[in-house]
């Protein structure tokens, strides 16, 4: 039902406390597949065969979509195989697989969208779905089948070994090692769990403007969570990494690194306190703090909200929104990043979109409908969760470029404030502009030095205000490798984010009142 679907939010799968709420849902969608599926498709014919269709049939279906007078029709075929294996109580004792297969048909009539999908792909079901979507328009205009020409995109996620040729037996030792490494590090650890999820998505897109293109999209996430006990108190935290890579993603070095991160992150919480509540200066550490960009401005820059004037940024295009040293981009082309895409889910090429350049708001993020509305080229941000969903403007990898300050001078400039380092989730009201993010760990800053660790506090601020209150930007830009999933209108999308160390001059921190 609708309740959650109205929210714009972001979660980090498997990260600490979120793990406990996320894992059940996560498991339902991710699973494992055995040996011997055929390897990656390489050409258009492989994709046509996978979906049992021909170019001629696709052309007929696209024409059927326009049979009621719509001005654009599109088919989006998807076959996605998702696998998950999980370790709990020192054993890899669960595996889940989910397969989805189907086609979504979209018809546009101006800004209006008709949509239908079918999971049974035959000429009859395709045409029926096209007729359902076509009903968004209402005239007798006739459309003839259009000639399709193949668009070949750049390759932003080359892999060595596909997940479909990697069985459970090859993956299991990595989880066992992860478990061993966690317990080896600290004798206060009493429980550990871990999982690997991987998916392979084959998509084929064609539209009534004559475009046909396809993509092979690998994605993998490894996560672990551990609980430690000390003097009768328990703390839990976790770590995860996600990339668009194949089996070569799993290495012993990487396993050892996330085990260490998870254990250090957990036992440090025993010393952590809650800060005093109220407005204060905040320094955001490099990497995960990119959540600030995602929530405070990213959603507000998505053009669907601006087209209907519900974003607080809808009258700020080409205006000064931040200091000169602030440049923010959304980039779909960072190699093998979780948020990378070769093409968006409308078949547009992926690119780097400069959102804020030297403090000026330069561009929103567009899908086809909004790009047409604003009379601009598509930015490659039209993404969808699955073939069951309409594409909408979404972020890819959103990050801030380096600024003029050093991290040391930024921390030294704060008399009393907090340093935020690890986060679990965030949310935003794009019209009022108030956004939040939840700090899992960080430190107090007192007289320019890092002090006691802090934990479990939410931060709330106003997007445009905070953007203009970014008073220092470090020269240590880092990208988060975390398994971030952005939620919007009930659709999930894998995203990445990054930021150098930055200082915000004032923001409200949750905590206690003395």
């Amino acid at each position: 039902m609708k309740e959650l679907s109205r929210r714009k939010f972001l979660v980090n799968a498997g990260q600490g406390i979120v793990a406990t709420t996320m894992i059940p849902a996560f498991l339902q969608n991710d699973v494992d597949f055995a040996l011997g599926l055929k390897s990656a498709d390489t050409g258009l014919n492989d994709y046509l065969n996978r979906f049992g269709v021909t170019e001629a049939l696709i052309r007929e279906v696209l024409a059927e979509g326009l049979s009621r007078g719509g001005d654009f029709s599109e088919v989006y075929f998807q076959h996605r195989i998702s696998n998950y294996i999980g370790l709990e109580d020192k054993q890899v004792n669960q595996a889940y697989t989910n397969i989805i297969y189907g086609v979504g048909i979209r018809v546009l009539n101006g800004d209006q969208t008709g949509y239908s999908y079918t999971e049974e792909i035959t000429p009859a079901t395709l045409k029926q779905a096209a007729q359902t979507a076509a009903a968004i328009a209402n005239s007798n205009k006739k459309a003839s089948p259009v000639k399709l020409s193949l668009y070949k995109h750049s390759e932003n996620y080359p892999i060595q070994t596909s997940w479909e040729t990697s069985n459970i037996g090859i993956k299991m030792p990595y989880l066992n090692r992860l478990n061993d490494q966690i317990f080896k590090q600290d004798n206060r650890i009493i429980k550990a769990s871990a999982g690997i999820s991987n998916e392979t998505s084959y998509i084929l897109i064609a539209n009534s403007e004559g475009l046909i293109t396809f993509d092979y999209q690998p994605l993998v996430t490894i996560f672990c969570s551990c609980t430690a006990e000390q003097n009768g108190k328990r703390e839990n935290n976790g770590s995860n990494i996600s990339k668009r890579l194949g089996m070569e993603f799993l290495t012993n070095n990487m396993i050892d690194r996330i085990a260490k991160e998870a254990v250090t992150g957990t036992v440090s919480l025993f010393e952590a306190i809650k800060p005093e509540a109220g407005e204060m200066e905040i320094v955001l550490g490099p990497g995960e703090s990119g959540i600030l960009l995602h929530e405070a401005m990213g959603h507000g820059f998505e053009a669907d909200f601006n087209r209907i004037k519900t974003s607080i940024f809808s009258d700020k295009l080409n205006q000064k929104v931040a200091e000169n040293f602030v440049t923010i981009v959304d980039n779909g082309m960072n190699q093998n990043y979780r948020g990378a895409i070769n093409i968006d889910d409308e078949g547009n090429e992926s690119k780097e979109t400069v959102l804020v350049e030297n403090g000026i708001l330069k561009s929103y993020m567009h899908d086809r409908i909004s790009a047409k509305h604003y009379g601009v080229e598509p930015t490659g941000n039209g993404r969808r969760d699955t073939f069951r969903n309409m594409p909408i403007p979404r972020m890819r990898n959103t990050y801030m470029k380096n600024g003029p300050h050093t991290p040391e001078e930024i921390i030294a400039s704060v008399k009393k404030g907090i340093y935020a380092e690890k986060f679990t989730n965030g949310q935003v009201n794009i019209g009022a502009g108030d956004f939040t993010f939840y700090i899992k760990s960080g430190n107090l800053i007192e007289n320019g030095k890092l002090g006691r660790p802090i934990k479990d506090v939410n931060i709330i601020g106003n997007g445009p205000k905070v953007l203009s209150n970014i008073v220092m930007v470090g020269n240590d830009m880092k990208n988060s490798e975390g398994a971030w999933t952005c939620g919007k209108n009930g659709q999930g999308a894998p995203v990445s984010m990054g930021i150098p160390t930055v200082k915000v001059s004032s923001i409200t921190v949750g905590g206690i009142n003395s």
């Binding site: 609708k2 109205r6 939010f9 406390i17 979120v18 406990t20 498991l27 339902q28 494992d32 597949f33 055995a34 599926l37 709990e88 890899v92 004792n93 669960q94 595996a95 889940y96 397969i99 989805i100 297969y101 189907g102 209006q112 969208t113 949509y115 239908s116 999908y117 079918t118 999971e119 359902t132 009903a135 069985n167 009493i190 969570s225 609980t227 328990r234 809650k274 509540a277 109220g278 407005e279 929530e295 209907i308 519900t310 607080i312 989730n425 935003v428 009201n429 794009i430 009022a432 108030d434 939840y438 479990d456 506090v457 939410n458 931060i459 106003n462 409200t508 949750g510 905590g511 009142n513």
Partner: protein, 438 residues
């Protein structure tokens, strides 16, 4: 309901058993959905489709995996099941992995009244009309409104489940959701948004679209001029329809997996008085017409009404069959269904009137709770209460604390349980809660 789903489930179960599985659970489901969005007096989005799923849990000598697919072509399914069995064999044996003892399977002769027989015959034009009426009612409320998106959606869900040691169940249900999100222009340059949405099992029990449109608009108009106020301790009144967020911080730590994995501040606390006397929570999967009602749970265990917390005493956990075995406890059920809180005698207005310095929370913005420690911190918005009066809309505030102290501070309950949700909480008053703001 047609028997196709049950036949397919039985076929898949037999096929898996014949090919090496020792136990199997199969669920076959089908969902039809309609989503309509109206903007600027036009249909902005229209979606109608049907999706299918076959889920199969495979047990091979206490090794376990779960698989699902929407590709129901027989040859594909055969390959899918064979692959699944082969994959399962790689896994570690887990002595607790098995289908439930059949003694927990019972056919309950109860009509839950969750299926609208008229679903298929409702006029599509009528659905669009509802969304248009909501939009019109919202727009009529003020010229400060800059955007209204009104929606109607409905769905019909049918499923059949078989478990190879003697369980067979079928269910059929419908839902309808209507509502609108509204944005308004605030003279300070911001564009506050809010919405109103309701869910119902039956078309005829939906509230009038006019009422929904008006409420969506009024909820939003009240946010004009919102700002943060001073940090400090305030009494907190949480409005009924958003109270689920606060209740949620108790539910996750009651889960068998959280208890067994030592990620719960409620571990080893059964029977203890932990919260205010005023807190009683009942889980009733057999609530007639309920949005979370079911005759059996995900394990096939027959549903039963349970008291989870009684006058502040923790009475039950949510224990599914697997974690029940691991914890050596009787299974209850693995998740919350319809949650009913005690209903008080006081109206929301009276709760406000008796509050000297407080904040009425009617919206949440992000935040989280830590099930291991009970610590929480959420972004909130609502209204400042001074001397029994609502005086100022507030936003950009944070409420923080620990679930144990927070729920001990529950001082009064409203008489207004929220009917359009499976978690039916009344409005509630909590004393001396930490807020972060200016």
């Amino acid at each position: 309901m047609s028997n196709n789903k049950l036949e397919l489930a039985n076929w898949a179960s037999s096929f898996a058993l014949k090919n090496g599985a020792s136990q199997v659970k199969v669920n076959v489901s089908r969902q039809h959905e309609v989503n309509i969005e109206i903007r600027d007096k036009k249909t902005d989005k229209l979606l109608e489709s049907t999706s299918n799923s076959l889920g199969i849990d495979i047990y091979v000598d206490n090794k376990y995996s779960g698989q699902s697919t929407n590709d129901l072509r027989k040859p594909e399914l055969e390959k899918f099941i064979l692959d699944a069995i082969a994959a399962t064999k790689y896994l570690a044996k887990d002595e607790f992995r098995m289908l439930p003892d059949p003694k927990y399977y019972k056919k309950l002769a109860v009509d839950l009244n969750v299926n609208d027989q008229n679903y298929a015959t409702i006029d599509p034009a009528g659905k669009i009309k509802i969304a248009e009426t909501i939009e019109g009612a919202a727009l009529s409320q003020s010229d400060k409104i800059i955007s209204v998106t009104a929606y109607f959606s409905d769905g019909k869900y049918e499923s059949a489940t078989v478990q190879s040691n003697g369980f067979e169940g079928q269910d059929e249900s419908t839902f309808y959701s209507i509502g609108a999100s509204v944005s308004v222009k605030d003279p300070n340059g911001s564009r506050p948004e809010d919405w109103k949405g309701v869910n119902s099992r039956f078309y005829k029990t939906l509230p009038t679209p006019e009422a929904i449109g008006i409420e969506a608009a009024q909820n939003t108009l009240k946010r004009i001029g919102q700002k943060k106020v001073a940090s400090g301790k305030y009494d907190l009144i949480i409005q009924n329809e958003v109270a689920g967020r606060a209740v949620g911080m108790l539910i996750n730590p009651m889960n068998g997996s959280s208890i067994h994995q030592k990620r719960s501040f409620l571990d080893k606390k059964l029977g203890e008085k932990l919260f205010s006397d005023k807190l009683t929570i009942t889980d009733n999967p057999l609530l007639i017409g309920g949005l979370g009602s079911q005759l059996y749970d995900g394990d096939g265990i027959a549903s039963q009404k349970r008291t989870m917390i009684e006058n502040g005493v923790l009475k039950n956990y949510y224990i599914d069959y697997y974690y029940g075995k691991k914890l050596n406890m009787e299974p209850t059920t693995g998740y919350a269904t319809n949650l009913l809180l005690t209903i008080g005698n006081t109206s929301l207005l009276e709760l406000i009137k008796k509050t000297e310095k407080g904040i009425l929370v009617n919206g949440f913005n992000g935040g989280n709770s830590n099930s291991t420690t009970g610590d929480f911190s959420y972004g909130v918005q609502g209204m400042l209460i001074e001397n029994g009066q609502l005086t100022q809309p507030v936003n950009e505030m944070i409420v923080s604390g620990n679930a144990l102290t927070f729920w001990s501070a529950l001082a009064d309950l409203g008489n207004d349980p929220y009917p359009y949700s499976s978690w039916q909480s009344p409005s509630m008053l909590f004393k001396d809660i930490d807020f972060g703001g200016l």
